[in-house]
Subunit: 133 residues, 2 copies
DNA sequence: CGTAGGGTTTCCAGCAACAGGAGAGTCAAC
DNA sequence: GTTGACTCTCCTGTTGCTGGAAACCCTACG
């Protein structure tokens, strides 16, 4: 199938599929004489795999690792688990960061009257070197 | 003061201070004859303000807006609150996204034995079109 | 058979928000 | 007067694409 059919099947934009081919992440099964990329079912499966992994926030590099394990029949599930666990820790860390951000900003927003006067705890809070002061 | 003194005072790398000057976000108070950027206390306050706002995840564009309000004595706190509230919603939305991501991935990781056998629910889960299947 | 329309190819630019480095000028101290 | 630190501008690279231009290709229609 050509690139637009593959694009439809895997749920990625044509541009992205082409990009993945360019960087050697998911290469087409072959090319026509005119140079058109041709994808088979296996290539589409790999594209779907990458889309899902990207949705999980895995970087292109991690996708490459996972894709290597995806096709490797001698892989150990421990290898996969290690990568996934690392990503899980990243997510948890980001969550904590967002939480404190949210709390701090919400605190400022609550303190702000939000009327037409210029006095604003949010501006004041941002202008201060450390938020806790 | 020169750029490295300003950098130290505001807590931003020299490169970033220079970048902010280039894009017109925080311009130096003046220049020496040799072209060296000179910052005064007011400029440093603006740099600190931007650093803090960036730490809160405000984009450069939003920093520009906030900086405009920061200096504006006729501002209404409602304007500031509107921008901050918008950002707060972005944070909350990102939090929800991360949460479902975390849950889904944690689910897969838990199901994975993590030994030297190739069977791996994580790989299987990523390969599937929709995770819920 | 010609052509109109789609699809496809390559390459080039650009997004955010800087970081790194080259090469040249500047400044203060010894 | 020369060393060494600092600064300047300009260019490239980062991540993961997205959009566009110019050219080629393919099919259908008349």
């Amino acid at each position: 199938m050509n690139i637009s059919a593959a694009s439809t099947m895997c749920g990625l934009p044509v541009k992205t599929v082409r990009y993945y081919a360019d960087i050697g992440l998911v290469v087409p099964a072959s090319r026509t004489e005119a140079g058109y990329r041709l994808y088979d079912d296996e290539a589409v499966r790999r594209l779907v795999f990458v889309r899902r992994a990207r949705e999980f926030g895995f970087s292109i590099g991690e996708c490459r690792e996972l894709l290597g394990l995806y096709a490797d029949r001698r892989r150990s599930s421990a290898d996969v688990k290690r990568i996934a666990t690392r990503r899980l820790r990243q997510i948890a860390s980001k969550q904590r960061e967002l939480q404190s951000l949210h709390d701090e900003l919400a605190h400022l927003v609550e303190a702000c009257s939000g009327d037409d006067r210029p006095d604003c705890p949010i501006i004041d809070g941002l202008g201060r070197r450390h938020s806790g002061e």
